[in-house]
């Protein structure tokens, strides 16, 4: 006859064994993290194209060497990463190899080191795109991932569905379009800015370069501009259902260049000139607030 204590012990042993087996199996199924690093010599100004159709973060930094270094990490067996060099162009593609039978959120993360003068075309789904100290035209696309740019210059195009942009110390030209993403432009030296978002907010905190053109539109969001006392620009701000919050009335003079804006009866507007009115600033929001401030 079997002793009851021994029956309990065997049951416990079986349960623990099963649990250990399942843990081991799940670890094995999850796969190990695969990391690879590749180096590409370049001559002149390289073009790096990275198309990441899975999730993941893309980080780009620059150095003085004429070489592009691509470091990627992904779960082994779930993502295919193809990298090809054609002259000074480097194509990187990351795609999922998991069958479509069920949901899977696979991820591939990239770290790129490029020469300072490099053109970039980067696309990802949900991860952050971070670019620092790169001079060159760039087109950056993301669905839900944010885009952070620091000390970059060139013709910069950023397109997101819901991701936001933070652009610090950027110069050149900037275009940003998004549905719900916001944009913060901080301490820029941009000569041409075109920002458009449907429900996101826009913050421009910095100088307006003389002869520059600055257009900022938000459907429902806040559009806020903070200028300095030494700036020089003509301002045209219009909103249909929102408000224009002018907190810089002391610095805005009546428009000085004979631009007689015909105010639409369907919108509220503010027209004025700061300094000599050398740059042109056009702000519009359909139903959000437009706020104009002078920095301290």
């Amino acid at each position: 006859m079997c002793h009851p204590d021994k029956v309990v012990d065997r049951s416990m042993l079986f349960a623990v064994g099963t649990a250990l087996f399942l843990c081991g199996a799940s670890v094995a199924l999850a796969g190990t993290n695969e990391q690879q690093e590749r180096h590409f010599k370049v001559k002149d100004r390289p073009v790096v194209i990275l198309d990441n159709i899975v999730n993941g973060r893309i980080e780009v930094k620059s150095w003085k060497n004429p070489e592009v270094v691509v470091t990627s990490s992904s779960v082994e067996g779930k993502v295919t990463i193809d990298i090809e060099q054609v002259g000074d162009r480097i194509d990187i593609n990351a795609s999922s190899v998991v069958s479509s039978s069920g949901p899977h959120d696979v991820e591939a993360n990239f770290q790129l080191v490029v020469p300072e003068q490099t053109e970039l075309q980067l696309r990802t789904q949900t991860g952050l795109i971070l670019v620092e100290q790169v001079n060159g035209d760039m087109k950056l696309q993301s669905v839900a991932g944010d885009v952070h740019l620091k000390e970059v210059s060139g013709y910069i195009i950023v397109k997101t569905t819901g991701g936001s942009l933070i652009c610090t110390l950027c110069s050149g030209k900037l275009e940003f379009t998004s549905i719900s993403g916001s944009a913060q432009i901080l301490q820029p030296s941009l000569t041409n800015v075109n920002l458009m978002t449907t429900t996101g907010n826009i913050l421009y905190d910095g100088d307006f370069i003389r002869t520059g053109l600055y257009t900022m539109n938000s459907g429902r969001g806040l559009v806020e501009v903070r200028f300095s006392g030494s700036d020089s620009f003509d301002l045209n701000a219009q909103t249909y259902r929102g408000t224009v919050d002018n907190q810089a009335a002391d610095f805005l003079k009546p428009e000085a260049h004979g631009n007689h804006h015909a105010q639409s009866k369907f919108s509220r507007g503010l027209f004025g000139t700061v300094g000599q009115g050398l740059a042109k600033v056009e702000l519009s929001s359909y139903s959000g607030t437009i706020r104009i401030l002078k920095r301290n």
């Binding site: 159709i53 999922s96 949900t126 907010n201 408000t243 007689h260 009866k265 959000g288």
Partner: protein, 275 residues
């Protein structure tokens, strides 16, 4: 008379025979002569605009090459130039397959945008029309002293603050004029908006119901942004039904349509990429 006064006369009375004082000024002022010449050319160009415009040939060339590049059509099945007057119905015939609807929507909107942008006088506020639409804001609405509502999801700047709104000394926005400042949309423009809404709605209906890109985060973001756009479009459309000559709303609606076309294309691509 000075330039400003002449402009006021033009705004009020158009190019109809000007008062003697205005004509005297015009005779000696080159700038005003240029202004009147510009206005004349705008008015004459506006009169020449047909009720409906065929898209330029380059749109068809671009459309055909894109479809060929994607392997969707082959040479023998090339898209022929649309017959005059029925180009939209022709396009609808070509794009019966659901998967092609997004391409059609995008290109249609691009064509529409080009047309709207290139149309002379579209954005001018000096074109003389007689609008008798109701006043939507009180006479002082143009002043910028208006309450600032709390915004949801404000920019996450560390310095954003909402101090009380001050009265602005310098706004001097021209008082809303009862007429002369808003254009009534043309029939072709109305048709453009109507067709865009139809195409986009059909494309949206054809979206896959399963998870896009087999990626929960992407799927959620795309669908949430589609809802956001639809809400905004509905708001603009409702407004335009009430006040069809509201130019700002029309511009925002046009932008929202383009964004929706691009979003639907991305969603279709996400739905296809896994198969």
């Amino acid at each position: 008379m000075e330039c400003k006064e002449l402009e006021a006369v033009l705004a009020e009375e158009g190019l109809s025979p000007l008062p003697l004082e205005a004509r005297n000024h015009l005779a000696v002022c080159a700038a005003c002569q240029d202004l009147v010449a510009d206005l004349s050319s705008i008015v004459s160009a506006a009169q020449r605009i047909p009720a409906e415009v065929n898209p330029p040939d380059r749109i068809w060339v671009s459309l055909r090459s894109q479809l060929e590049a994607e392997g969707i059509i082959r040479k023998p099945q090339m898209v022929e130039s649309a017959p005059v007057g029925s180009w939209w119905s022709g396009l609808a015939q070509i794009f019966r397959p659901r998967a092609l609807a997004t391409v059609a929507a995008t290109l249609f909107l691009v064509a529409g945008s080009i047309y709207l942008v290139q149309r002379p006088g579209m954005r001018t506020n000096k074109t003389v029309t007689n609008s008798t639409a109701p006043q939507t804001h009180p006479p002082d609405a143009a002043k910028n002293v208006v309450p600032a509502p709390v915004q949801q999801g404000a920019v996450t700047s560390p310095k954003i603050h909402v101090p009380p709104v001050r009265s602005a000394r310098v706004t001097a926005p021209p008082q809303p004029r009862e007429s002369h400042t808003e254009l009534m949309p043309s029939p072709s423009e109305n048709a453009y908006f109507g067709d865009s809404a139809t195409v986009l709605s059909q494309t949206e209906d054809a979206l896959p119901t399963r998870e896009l890109a087999n990626n929960a985060a992407v799927d959620a973001s795309l669908r949430q942004n589609l809802r956001t756009l639809n809400e905004f479009i509905a708001e603009c459309e409702a407004r335009l039904k009430q006040y069809p000559q509201d130019q700002l709303t029309r511009e925002y609606l046009n932008m929202a349509y383009q964004q929706k076309a691009e979003l639907l294309t991305a969603m279709m691509d996400s739905g296809r990429s896994e198969h």
